[in-house]
Amino acid sequence: MKIRVEKRLEIPKYAGILVPVISVFAALLIMGVILLIFFIGRHGTLAAAFGKTVEAYQEMLSWPFTNRYGLASTFMRMVPLAFVALGLSFAYKMKIWNIGGEGQLYMGAMASTWGAIFLFKDITSPFLMILLLSICGAIAGALWALIPALMKAYAKTDEIVVTLMLNYVAIFWVDYLVYGPWKDPRGYGFPGTAPFPEQAKLPTFFDGEFHLGIFTAITLALILFYVYKKTSWGFNSRIVGDNASAARYSGISVRNYTIIALVVSGAIAGLGGATQMMGVQHRLQHGFSPGYGYTAIIVAWLGKLNPLAIVLVSFLFGGLLVGNDQLQMFYKLPMALISVFQGLVLFCLLGGEALFKYRLRIDREELLDNE
C-alpha cells in the first residue's frame, strides 16, 4: 500500500471557514508555548511558568469578551480596525498591497483635528460638524494614498514600500504638529492638541460605551459587500485583480482602476482616523494608534477580504488588543506580544491554505494485481 500526496483540483468550500478558525487557535497555542518559555526565563521553573501562562490566557481571553467594561473596550477598539481593514481589503481585492493603512489613518486623524480645532471651529451643528470632519478625514486618507497610486499607475512603482514609507512620514508629521504648532497651550506640556469642541464628538450609546462609529463601520461593510457583489466595479475589479492583461484586453482601464482602488482604500482608512478622533480620542496625540494599520492587514486576510467577515474578525481582534493591554498591565509583557500573535496567525493561515492544496491518496495496488 502506497500513500501519495496529490494536488487537489479545487479547494473544498469548508476550508474557507475552517482554515481561518484553526489558524487562530493554532496561533494561540504556539504563542502559549512562546509565553511559557518567556515565563520560564522569568520565574525559573516549568510549573510556575505553566501556571502563569494559563493565568495570563484566562485574563487575555475572558476580560475583553465577558466583562462589561472589557466588552466596551473591545467594541471601541473594533471600530478603527474595521475601518482600516475594510479600506485595505478594497485594494487587496485587486492584489494591490496597500501597507499604508497606519499612515492613512494618521492623516485622517490629522485632517479631522485641523477641521475641528481650526477650520470649522465655529460650526455649531453637530451633524454638520461630524459630516465635515468625516469628509476631511476621508479626503486626507485619499490624498495620502494618491501618491503611491499615481506612482504605480504611471511609473509601475511597487506600492508596498512607498505606502510603508508614508506611514513613517505621517507619524512624524503628526509628531511635529502635536509637539509644535498644534500643542495645546493649556495642556501642561502634554503632547497633544487642544480637545475637540463638544459638537465634534460622536454621540454615544449605552452609557457612553458605544459610539456612532460602530454603526458607520457596519453600514460601510454592508455597502462594500453590495459593491463587490452587485456592481460592475466589483465585477471588473475581480478581472483586474486576477489578470491585468486580460483586463486591458477587455477594454478596462487598469490605470484608472488601480488609482481608484488605492484612493478609496486610503479614504476609508482616513475616515477611520477621523472617526477615532471624534469617537474616542477627542484630540490628536502622539502615538494614538497601537498599530491599528498593521493589525488591520491581518484582519483583512483572516476575513478573506469579505466585508462582513472583516467586521466579525475586527471584533475578535479588538478583544485581543484589549486582552494584550491587560497582559501588559498585569504581567509586564510588552506590546510586542500582539505582533508575535499576528505573525503567527498569518503563518498559520498561509500554512493552512497550502495544506488544503494537497490531499493524501492511498493506492491499493495489491488488490489490482490480484485481479
Partner: protein, 531 residues
C-alpha cells in the same frame, strides 16, 4: 574528445549482432495520470540504435508527457524504463543526462542574459570554481561546426534568433555526450529552409551512432525524417510502423481513428466592402525594435485573409496594435472607414472588433475566475446581457452562460468552475463563445488552434467559417500552413514586419511561400496585392 557514454559493448559486438535492431532505449507499460486526466496509459515504445523514431499524435495525445517522463521531469505512476537493456530509474533531467539522454523542448531552457558558452556549461560538474571561458568556447565552436550548427559562443542568448537558440539547445546535449536525443516539435519555430538544416544535422548525428526521438504532429516531416513511427492517441499507443510500410493517409487513420483527410469544400465567397483597413502601420516591440514596418493590408467583409510567417516576425505586434493593445508609431487602423485611435481598446470593441490571441491563458482569460465571469469579461462594453452598472443582473448572466455552454459544447463541471481547470480546447471555446456572441464585424485570430486536439481544431475552423458566411472580416495569423490552405481566400506572407507578397491559397505555391517566409521579396508582380 566527446564522450559517447556507455556504448562500448555495442561497438565491440557490432560485428556479431545487427546494430540496427538493438534497442538502445525501451519504455515499458508507462502509465501517468494527472488530476482529472490520464496522460499515458500502458505505453510501450522502443528506440533502436542509429534510428530516428517519430512519436506522432495529435495535441494532447500524451507525447510530451511520455518524453518528460523519459527525461526525468515527471515520474511515471507505473512502468519502467530501460537504457541499453538495463532497467534504469530516471529521477531528474540531470540524471537523464548522465545516462546519455537529452531533450530539446518546445520552450527552450536557456538563460537569456547569459552567453551561449555560459548556457552550455551551466550546471556541469566539470566546471571549476572559476569558469574557464576560453576552453569552453573553443570546444563549443568545434562541435557546432562538426554538425552544421554554427554558433558564436560569446553571443548573448537574448540577441539570437529562435533557430539559433535551438542549435544551442542541441549543442548543450552534444557537449555532455548525449547520444539519445529527444526533440519536441522542433520545426514549429523554423522556416522550411531552417528545418532542412536541422534535418541534415540529425542525419549526420544518426549516422554516427546517435538515436533520435522526434515528436511531431506534422505528417510530412514525419514521413521525411523518420525511420519508424509510433502513433499515440488519447494516451495510448495505437501502432508502431516502419516508414516504408505506410503513407500520410495511413498515419492519419492511426492518429485520429478515422479517415480525416477529406478536403473540405470552402463555401462560396461572398466578399463585400473593406471592413478592416491598415495603412502604413509601424509598431515597436518590447525591446524597442521595429516589429511592424510600414505595413498595409485590407480585409473585406466575408473574407478570410491569412498571414503566413515564422513566429516572431511581427505577427504578435501587428495583432496587438490593430486591436489597440499596443500603440503604433505611425500609420492608421480603420474599421468600416472609422479611424481608430492608437492604443484604445474600448472604442474598437464598441466598433465590433474582436481578437482571439495565440496565448489564451495570458490575456484572453482570467484563470481563477469562473466560466461565467470569463464569458462576460467584456460585458461593460459589449452589453451582451443588459445590466445596470449598479445592479448587475447575475441571474441573466448565469442563464446566458448555460446557453452558451450548451451551444458551444463546453465541457465543464459547472458555469462556476474556474477556467484554469478546463482543457485547452474548452478554454478556447470559452473565448470563442465570448467573442462570437457579440456578432463582430472583424476578427483577428492569432494561431487560434495552438495546442488543441483535432476535435477542437475542427470546431474552431467551423466557427470561423460560419462567421465568414455571416459577413465577418477575418484576419488569420496562421500557425500552420495547413490552416492557410484550408480556410483562407487570400494568403499574405510576413517577414520582419513587412508583407512580402500575396499568393492564392493553393498548396502549389508552397515553395514561393517558403521563400517569402525566409525573406525573399516576391518577384512575380502578377501575385502582388491580389484581391
Amino acid at each position: 574528445m566527446i564522450s559517447r557514454g556507455a556504448t562500448w559493448p555495442l561497438d565491440f559486438f557490432s560485428g556479431v549482432i545487427s546494430l540496427e535492431d538493438f534497442p538502445v532505449l525501451e519504455m515499458k507499460n508507462i502509465t501517468k495520470a494527472f488530476p482529472g486526466v490520464v496522460a499515458n496509459e500502458d505505453v510501450s515504445i522502443e528506440l533502436r540504435k542509429g534510428e530516428v523514431l517519430a512519436l506522432l499524435g495529435e495535441n494532447g495525445a500524451g507525447k510530451t508527457t511520455l518524453m518528460n517522463i523519459l527525461f526525468g521531469i515527471y515520474h511515471a505512476d507505473k512502468g519502467e524504463v530501460s537504457v541499453n537493456g538495463k532497467k534504469t530509474a530516471i529521477t531528474s533531467p540531470n540524471n537523464a543526462l548522465k545516462h546519455g539522454i537529452g531533450m530539446v523542448q518546445q520552450h527552450f531552457t536557456l538563460v537569456p542574459s547569459f552567453t551561449v558558452a555560459e548556457n552550455v556549461v551551466l550546471g556541469l560538474k566539470e566546471t571549476g570554481f572559476v569558469i574557464k571561458t576560453k576552453t569552453v568556447e573553443s570546444k563549443i565552436k568545434k562541435l557546432g561546426d562538426a554538425y552544421g550548427l554554427p554558433v558564436h559562443p560569446r553571443a548573448r542568448v537574448w540577441t539570437l534568433s529562435v533557430g539559433e537558440r535551438q542549435r544551442i539547445e542541441i549543442l548543450k546535449l552534444l557537449y555532455t555526450g548525449a547520444n539519445i536525443l529527444i526533440l519536441d516539435e522542433p520545426t514549429a519555430v523554423l522556416t522550411p529552409q531552417e528545418s532542412e538544416v536541422l534535418f541534415k544535422a540529425l542525419r549526420k548525428l544518426v549516422s554516427e551512432g546517435s538515436s533520435v526521438i522526434f515528436i511531431s504532429h506534422k505528417l510530412d516531416e514525419v514521413m521525411e525524417i523518420s525511420d519508424r513511427i509510433t502513433v499515440l492517441r488519447n494516451g495510448k499507443v495505437v501502432g508502431t510502423i516502419s516508414k516504408t510500410e505506410t503513407d500520410r493517409r495511413g498515419l492519419v487513420k492511426l492518429m485520429v481513428g478515422r479517415d480525416l483527410l477529406v478536403d473540405t469544400v470552402k463555401p462560396e465567397a461572398q466578399i463585400g466592402r473593406p471592413v478592416l483597413t491598415v495603412e502604413d502601420l509601424s509598431v515597436k516591440n518590447d525591446k524597442g525594435l521595429l516589429a511592424v514596418n510600414n505595413l498595409s493590408l485590407e480585409v473585406r467583409a466575408g473574407e478570410i485573409l491569412g498571414i503566413a510567417g515564422v513566429a516572431g516576425n511581427g505577427q504578435r505586434e501587428l495583432a496587438e496594435s490593430i486591436y489597440g493593445l499596443r500603440k503604433s508609431l505611425s500609420g492608421s487602423v480603420r474599421l468600416d472607414g472609422k479611424l481608430m485611435r492608437s492604443g484604445n481598446v474600448t472604442s474598437r470593441i464598441r466598433s465590433g472588433l474582436t481578437y482571439i490571441p495565440q496565448d489564451r491563458k495570458t490575456i484572453a482569460t482570467c484563470p481563477n475566475l469562473s466560466v461565467m465571469n470569463n464569458i462576460f469579461m467584456k460585458n461593460s462594453i459589449t452589453r451582451l446581457v443588459k445590466s445596470s452598472s449598479f445592479n448587475l443582473d447575475n441571474k441573466a448572466m448565469s442563464a446566458r452562460t448555460e446557453e452558451m455552454i450548451k451551444s458551444f459544447s463546453i465541457s465543464t463541471p459547472s458555469s462556476r468552475t474556474a477556467v484554469r481547470y478546463l482543457s485547452g480546447g474548452n478554454l478556447q471555446k470559452v473565448v470563442l463563445a465570448r467573442e462570437l456572441a457579440m456578432n463582430p464585424k472583424a476578427i483577428i485570430a492569432e494561431h487560434p488552434t495552438r495546442g488543441l486536439d483535432i476535435g477542437a481544431m475542427e470546431f474552431v475552423y467551423r466557427s470561423l467559417l460560419e462567421q465568414k458566411s455571416k459577413g465577418t472580416a477575418i484576419l488569420l495569423l496562421a500557425g500552420e500552413l495547413y490552416e492557410i490552405f484550408r480556410l483562407c481566400d487570400r494568403v499574405a506572407v510576413i517577414f520582419e514586419g513587412q508583407i512580402m507578397g500575396y499568393t492564392p491559397p493553393d498548396p502549389a505555391f508552397i515553395e514561393e511561400i517558403g521563400l517569402m517566409m525566409a525573406g525573399s521579396m516576391q518577384e512575380d508582380s502578377v501575385h502582388e496585392n491580389q484581391g
